[in-house]
């Protein structure tokens, strides 16, 4: 050992000795089990306390708002452009969170029921409004002083009212005055997409579509591509027919209107297209249904407005510039189904003022005009949808306006999803049977619609509040 090393060693020993001298009596004692448990608990409590104190917290002091939404391509301009524009104009920061449809429905419902305040604005599907308004998951915009833009198309605006302004009403809300709980932000509606190579002008009636369908030859060309999958999918195919034949999903007294003569005739009309359907149509959802059109293999279909951008995108379409749009065909009248994107203020919103300001701003005529002109979006104001410059760039906008004005809403009740599921299951069973039988369409339609009507009536009676 060198002298230096010896010195270092001595110094280290001295330091250790000093340390020992300074060591508190507590640390010199042997540790018992009780001590370990006590100190462990104390440590855990201290750590938990520190974590709580030091954890990052959301700040609302700066006037930020939080918007939650489900994922949908139609929301892209809203999410990527308008949210930032709002912040630029007002200085109010926007936190935007989105997740898949089912998860978001549960998340916002739990947030609103427990008044957690995680979100200020919920972007919703319009059929959530009855449940969310009845359970006060969202606040009444009327009571918050929201002034709806008079330029918003009335049919779209009505989707945010609870109880509904027209149609069947649940007994608990029979005499209540309709209040605005949600404001429409995207006017999604079913429109007719038709191939201009086969239709010199927009087809007006189902007969016009049928005549062209009869000239098609599978598998190169089909006369109609439907969504035939059970549930919501096939109901969306059936509704424009049902409405156009003058039937109601439910009558004013909640009796199922689809099982009446007009409803059966509407379903038989759908079945009359079976020889001109692609193979496997009974299992088609949106992806398969629209793929047939994008491949240039069908003359017409009805679908929501999400398809408008894809038909002209060379990356996904072989029929760029060939597909035109119109309101869904009529029998007695036009009757497209409406399914708007709608927004509400959460019951536990922490920045109600900021949320109100955002909704007022986004639904203003100026912003909606930009939405239509820049993105071809399904704007909610009449002035935007009928604007010549916007329509010149995006040929589908007048069809959307026309369809909104002719649209028919589904039953406004929290039990609507169950009603739709029952009807959609029977429609699918009827379609499978009709495809196999290739005949007796009236009898098949009648039998399944009657069965669906019976099940829906039983369910509504069991739920109470209808009859």
């Amino acid at each position: 050992m060198t002298e230096g090393q010896a010195n270092q060693s001595t110094t280290r020993e001295r330091k250790m000795s000093d340390k020992n001298a300074k060591t508190p009596k507590l640390l010199k004692q042997p540790l018992g089990r009780r001590d370990v448990i006590k100190r462990g608990l104390a440590g855990t409590v201290a750590l938990a306390g520190a974590a709580t104190v030091l954890s990052p917290r959301r700040s609302y002091a700066s006037g930020a708002i939080t918007i939650g939404s489900f994922q949908d391509n139609a929301m892209a301009p809203f999410r990527d452009y308008f949210v930032k524009e709002f912040t630029k104009e007002t200085g109010i920061a926007v936190n935007y969170n989105e997740t898949n449809y089912d998860t978001w429905y549960q998340n916002c419902k739990n947030d609103g029921l427990n008044k957690t305040g995680a979100y200020d604005i919920y972007v919703m599907d319009d059929n959530w409004v009855p449940e969310f308004a009845a359970a006060k998951i969202v606040q009444s915009l009327d009571q918050l002083g929201f002034k709806a833009n008079q330029d918003i198309l009335p049919k779209g605006l009505e989707m945010g009212l609870w109880p509904p302004k027209s149609g069947a009403r649940m007994k608990d809300f029979a005499s209540a005055t309709p209040e605005l709980y949600s404001i429409v932000i995207i006017d999604d509606v079913e429109i007719l997409y038709y191939n201009a190579d086969h239709f010199p002008s927009a087809p007006e009636t189902w007969d016009d579509i049928f005549k062209v369908a009869q000239t098609t030859k599978a598998p190169d060309m089909y006369g109609w591509s439907p969504r035939g999958l059970k549930g919501n999918a096939i109901v969306q195919t059936y509704l424009p027919l049902l409405n156009s034949y003058g039937a109601n999903f439910v009558n004013e007294d909640w009796t199922p209107g689809f099982a009446e003569k007009a409803g059966v005739a509407a379903l038989s009309r759908l079945f009359s297209f079976i020889p001109y359907f692609p193979e496997g149509a009974a299992a088609f959802d949106t992806a398969e249904e629209t793929q047939v059109m994008l491949e240039g293999k069908c003359t017409a279909l009805t679908e929501y407005t999400g398809l408008v951008n894809r038909v002209d995108d060379p990356a996904s379409s072989k029929v760029v510039g060939k597909i035109n749009m119109a309101t869904t065909p009529k029998q007695e009248k036009h009757g497209p189904a409406i399914g708007t994107f709608i927004a509400s203020i959460a019951s536990g919103a922490k920045n109600t003022e900021g949320a109100l300001q955002f909704l007022q701003w986004f639904t203003s005529s100026k912003v909606q005009l930009e939405f239509a002109r820049k993105f071809g979006g399904a704007a909610v104001t009449g002035s935007a949808l009928t604007d010549a410059e916007a329509a010149g760039k995006h040929r589908w906008l007048p069809a959307i306006a026309d369809s909104i004005n002719n649209s028919v809403q589904k039953p406004r009740t929290p039990d609507e999803p169950k009603m739709e599921d029952i009807l959609g299951t029977h429609l699918n069973m009827a379609l499978v049977e009709a495809i196999a039988a290739k005949a007796n369409y009236d009898a098949i339609a009648q039998a399944h619609l009657q069965a669906a009507a019976g099940e829906i009536t039983d369910y509504l009676k069991q739920q109470g509040g209808y009859f």
Binding site: D102, Q106, A135, I137, K230, A283, V432, I435, Q462
Partner: protein, 305 residues
């Protein structure tokens, strides 16, 4: 005085023994708390929910056994239960047979046994929802693979998902494709752990491969097979993702398993009470099934002894 001193010592000694005995239980407390939080509480809350009525997403209070009465009077519920049983019987039996066959092949010292093992277990590693999407594309008419393949072979396109029976069988194929590897792995592990003496003795005595398998390997493997079947059955009851992506329970109600119906009832129709009544009924059935399996295993062990 001496007696008193002894008593004090005895007391201290007893207290020390008690403390020593209590330590393991105290150490178990965190695990018990965690288990109660993630398992016991949701179950108890589920039972509570099954006895309550929900309207407009709100709990409107105790409703006794009304949810169970409504569920047992619902024809769709019984159809979903029947479909679930059919699905489990089909999938678990096919998976067990295939898993056993594959394990017997791979258990032999093949040249590429490692590579075969890895290849065989690949489907199991894919998320069920992705499996659903893959097979939906394969089955899709026009853009899929299955229909053109049938047509190329001179048959009609089956349109698998468009008809009740073919959609059901289509789901069985998907499940077998995904979960046979699990059965294969469990059975392969079981085969490797079997005592070799009786099997070698049988061979020395002149038993052929079939006799050795049916009289020695299979009886010895029975407990492993039973565990594998019980585990897979419990797992199959919860099958959801693939069905949701492929058919949503259709056409009609042909592929509507109880998991799909309960999910829709809870999260689409907002009938939490009824959904919980369904699931508690299902849980009761599963507990009965497990009790029967355990009883069977014990009896097998007793007979073997």
């Amino acid at each position: 005085l001496s007696a008193t001193a002894e008593t004090v010592e005895e007391r201290e000694s007893r207290a020390r023994r008690l403390r020593t005995a209590a330590v393991p239980y105290l150490l178990l407390v965190p695990a018990i708390v965690a288990l109660a939080a993630v398992s016991l509480y949701p179950t108890i809350d589920g039972v509570r929910a099954s006895l309550h009525r929900y309207r407009y997403a709100l709990d409107t209070g105790y409703t006794g056994g009304d949810n169970f009465v409504a569920v047992y009077g619902d024809a769709v519920f019984w159809k979903a239960m029947a479909t679930t049983v059919q699905f489990i019987v089909c999938t678990v039996s096919i998976e067990t047979l295939l898993g056993l066959l594959l394990a017997l092949v791979v258990a032999r010292e093949l040249r590429f046994a490692g590579l075969i093992r890895v290849t065989l277990i690949l489907p199991m590693t894919i998320a069920p929802v992705v499996v659903g999407v893959i097979w939906r594309l394969l089955y899709a008419s026009g853009i899929g693979v299955v229909d053109p393949l049938f047509q190329a072979l001179g048959f009609d396109a089956p349109n698998v998902l468009a008809h009740g029976l073919s959609a059901f069988l289509g789901l069985v194929v998907v499940d077998v494709w995904e979960w046979t590897p699990l059965m294969f792995l469990i059975i392969l592990a079981g085969l490797h752990s079997l005592p070799q003496d009786p099997i070698e003795a049988a061979r020395v005595d002149g038993a052929n491969a079939f006799q050795t398998f049916f009289h020695h390997t299979l009886p010895l493997l029975r407990p492993v097979l039973l565990v594998a079947v019980v585990l897979r059955t419990i797992d199959a009851v919860g099958t959801f993702d693939q069905v949701y992506v492929l058919t949503k329970g259709g056409p009609g109600t042909a592929t509507q398993l109880i998991s799909i119906y309960a999910y829709n009832t809870a999260f689409l129709f907002s009938q939490y009470g009824r959904a919980m009544a369904m699931l508690i009924s299902l849980l009761a059935c599963l507990l009965l099934l497990m009790a029967a399996a355990v009883h069977f295993m014990r009896r097998s062990a007793e007979i073997a002894e």
